[in-house]
C-alpha cells in the first residue's frame, strides 16, 4: 500500500487507509468547493428567476464590455494553467520554479481583479447602483454586484492564499500537496466564472 493511500494514527502508530485514497485536507477542500458551488448556484438561480420575472430587465453590456469579459476569461483560464505548472514543478521538487509559477498565477489574479474593478467603475459611472439604474428593473444592480462581487472576493482571497502558501512553500515548510490543494480552490474560482460570463454578461448584451 503506498504512502498516499494510508495515514499513521499519531496515538497508536497504526496505519489506516485514507478516505478515498486522498489526504483528508484534500477531501475537506472538495467538500468546501461543493458548498461554495451551491452558494453560487443559488445566487445565479435567484438572478435567473428575477430576470425572467422582470419584463424591463436591462441589457447594458456593449461589445466593449463583452470583449473585456472574454479577456478576463482568458486571464483566469491561463491562471489555471499556470497553477497547474506550479503544482507540476512542486511534484518534481523544483521549488524555485513552483514558486515562480505560483506568483505568476497571483499576478494574473490581480490583473483579473483590476479589469473587473474597471468594469464596476464604468457601470457605477453610468448610474448603476444596488437598487437603481437608468434603464429598467432596479434589481439588476443588486444581482450583478452580488454575483460578480462574491466572485471577485473569491479571486482576491485566492491571490492572498497563493502568495501566503507560495512563500511558506518556498521556505520549505509546505509540500507539493499544499500547493495542489490550493490549486483545487483556484480552479473552482475559474469554473464559477465560466457560468458568470454567459449568464450575467452574454444574456444582458446590448442589441
Amino acid at each position: 500500500m503506498s504512502q498516499a493511500t494510508v495515514a499513521v494514527d499519531p496515538h497508536t502508530g497504526m496505519m489506516e487507509e485514507r478516505p478515498f485514497a486522498i489526504p483528508s485536507s484534500k477531501l475537506v477542500m472538495w467538500l468546501f468547493v461543493i458548498s461554495d458551488a451551491v452558494t453560487f448556484a443559488a445566487l445565479l438561480f435567484a438572478y435567473g428567476y428575477l430576470r425572467n420575472a422582470s419584463p424591463d430587465w436591462p441589457t447594458p453590456f456593449e461589445h466593449a464590455s463583452i470583449w473585456n469579459a472574454l479577456l478576463m476569461t482568458f486571464i483566469l483560464v491561463t491562471s489555471s494553467l499556470t497553477v497547474l505548472m506550479a503544482v507540476n514543478a512542486a511534484q518534481n521538487d523544483d521549488r524555485a520554479r513552483a514558486f515562480r509559477w505560483t506568483m505568476i498565477t497571483a499576478l494574473l489574479g490581480l490583473a483579473f481583479t483590476a479589469l473587473h474593478l474597471r468594469e464596476w467603475i464604468d457601470l457605477i459611472g453610468k448610474g448603476v447602483r444596488t437598487f437603481q439604474n437608468p434603464w429598467g428593473a432596479p434589481m439588476f444592480g443588486a444581482t450583478f454586484f452580488s454575483i460578480t462581487g462574491l466572485h471577485m472576493a473569491h479571486v482576491v482571497g485566492g491571490v492572498v492564499a497563493l502568495i501566503a502558501v507560495g512563500l511558506i512553500y518556498k521556505a520549505g515548510k509546505y509540500s507539493a500537496k499544499h500547493l495542489e490543494i490550493l490549486s483545487l480552490y483556484w480552479h473552482f474560482v475559474d469554473i464559477v466564472w465560466m457560468f458568470v460570463v454567459p449568464l450575467v454578461y452574454l444574456m444582458n448584451m446590448k442589441r
Binding site: 478515498f20 443559488a42 463583452i66 469579459a69 472574454l70 482568458f74 434589481m139 490549486s183 465560466m194
Partner: protein, 99 residues
C-alpha cells in the same frame, strides 16, 4: 516513466486549456451574431466546467468512490439551501410573502 506520465498529463492540460478558450470565444461570437441562447450557453458552460473538473482538478484520476461520495453531500447542501431559494420570491417585491 513517472516523468513521462507527468509530461503527458501536462500535454493534455494544454489541450484542455485551448479547448476551454475556444468554447469561450464561440460563446461570445455566437451571442453577438445570433443572440444569447440560454440553454446552449448553459450547456457550453457545463462542458467547460466538466473539462476543468476532470482534467485541471484531476477528478478523473481520483477513485470513483470520491465522486460518488460527493453526490449525497451536494444533495444535502442543496436541501439546506432551499431556505434561500424560496426567499428569492420575496426579492421580487422586497417584502415578505403575503404582505
Amino acid at each position: 516513466m513517472a516523468t513521462d506520465t507527468k509530461s503527458n498529463t501536462m500535454g493534455v492540460n494544454y489541450l484542455i486549456y485551448v479547448v476551454i478558450l475556444v468554447i469561450a470565444l464561440f460563446q461570445v461570437l455566437f451571442a453577438m451574431m445570433a443572440g444569447p441562447q440560454p440553454i446552449l450557453m448553459l450547456l457550453l458552460a457545463f462542458l467547460q466546467a466538466s473539462l476543468a473538473v476532470n482534467h485541471f482538478m484531476h477528478l478523473k484520476q481520483e477513485r470513483p468512490s470520491l465522486f460518488l461520495a460527493l453526490i449525497p453531500y451536494t444533495l444535502f447542501v442543496l436541501f439546506m439551501m432551499n431556505m434561500i431559494w424560496s426567499d428569492s420570491v420575496r426579492l421580487l417585491h422586497m417584502r415578505p410573502p403575503g404582505n
